[in-house]
């Protein structure tokens, strides 16, 4: 018997990364800004996205959403109330979305042509660990954190927060009763991802949504 060492130097998720790169090219040439929203379950991704979709629509922008959950189409139905085209992705036990699921759900989505969209939001499965490894072809990864979760969440999940391009603090309308330490939360986010843009929002009262929408418009560039 002889032993041979074969150098591979190959990304474990190479297949996903290649697929995601292909999607990113498609999104870029169609001129659609794609965002991947990631948080724990219960942070308020859906409420935040619902409000975002409504406000974008009111401003005459075209936005659509893909929403990932293990089971049920409850979130898709909630989001569809905004009037935006929405498609549910059920992962049936898988704890994250991957590029293949995105590609598959873009196929045959009759109400949506990428070229006609300004924004496509992908609401990931509620999970702060696994989605960080899977590129979905997005341009902006958004990490969300609610005031009910504890200011040290970014320190507990550095892999995800460090990979984010923007951070959103949700439910600030109940910050006070929750004893939320705003300064500490901002400090912790910045320790993990120095210089990241942070938005403090409430989907309920609309606080902070203007700054968030202005950021979206700025990132999307001139229509």
């Amino acid at each position: 018997m002889t032993t041979r060492i074969v150098e591979l130097r190959r990304g474990i998720l190479k297949k996903n990364d290649e697929l995601a790169a292909g999607l990113r090219n498609r999104f870029t040439s169609a001129g659609v800004l794609v965002l991947n929203l990631v948080s724990s379950p219960g942070t308020g991704k859906t409420a935040f996205l619902e409000r975002t979709l409504r406000e974008l629509r009111a401003r005459g922008a075209h936005a659509a959403a893909l929403v990932g959950d293990l089971e049920t189409d409850n979130d898709a139905r909630r989001l569809a109330a905004s009037g935006a085209p929405v498609r549910q992705i059920n992962t049936h036990g898988i704890c994250h979305l991957d590029a293949e699921m995105i590609a598959k759900h873009l196929e045959g989505w009759e109400e949506v042509s990428l070229a006609g969209l300004n924004y496509l939001f992908i609401e990931n499965v509620g999970n702060l660990v696994c989605p960080s490894s899977y590129d979905l072809g997005e341009r902006i990864r958004v990490a969300l954190l609610s005031v009910t979760e504890g200011e040290d969440k970014p320190l507990k999940y550095p892999g995800l927060f460090n990979s984010a391009d923007a951070a959103v603090i949700t439910k600030i309308d109940i910050a006070e009763p929750c004893g939320f330490d705003r300064e500490l939360a901002l400090h912790n986010i910045n320790e993990i991802r120095p210089g990241i843009r942070i938005f403090e929002t409430s989907a309920k009262t609309g606080a902070g949504m203007d700054a968030w929408l202005a950021y979206l418009a700025e990132q999307a560039g001139p229509a």
């Binding site: 002889t2 474990i12 460090n162």
Partner: protein, 123 residues
């Protein structure tokens, strides 16, 4: 808990690479995993056994080389390894450092194959 998906991706990739060496058995698979890759070593080892069971890779060892985070500091120009993943500050000057140079790796570095010796076969 995505270690099972990761393990399955490694099996797929290694099986494909090893198929270029007919008759060879994969003895060891060596990985490079960054501290920020969100992969837990023990969990991946556990899933590796599950994913390779009853496959041509059964019995192959998984060797995981964990890599610390290295940041580039714009303030002092140093590339430096940070201790842990709780604060992205340059260990030399204490400034926040956003420029990551290492820490997200999730790759198969190499595989070790055991091949039947062609000379012995002729005897």
């Amino acid at each position: 808990m995505h270690e099972l998906s990761i393990a399955a991706s490694i099996v797929e990739s290694v099986t494909e690479s090893a198929s270029a060496y007919p008759g060879a058995r994969v003895k060891e698979v060596r990985l490079r995993v960054g501290a920020l890759a969100s992969v837990i070593e023990d969990s991946l080892q556990f899933c590796w056994e599950l994913a390779t069971e009853d496959s041509p890779l059964a019995g192959a060892a998984l060797v995981i080389h964990m890599l610390p985070v290295i940041v580039h500091c714009d303030a002092c120009g140093a590339d430096a390894e940070i201790a842990g993943v709780q604060s992205f500050r340059c260990p030399r000057c204490g400034e926040l450092a956003a420029d990551l140079r290492q820490g997200r790796e999730l790759e198969i570095e190499s595989i070790e194959l055991e091949e039947p010796d062609p000379v012995e076969e002729q005897v």
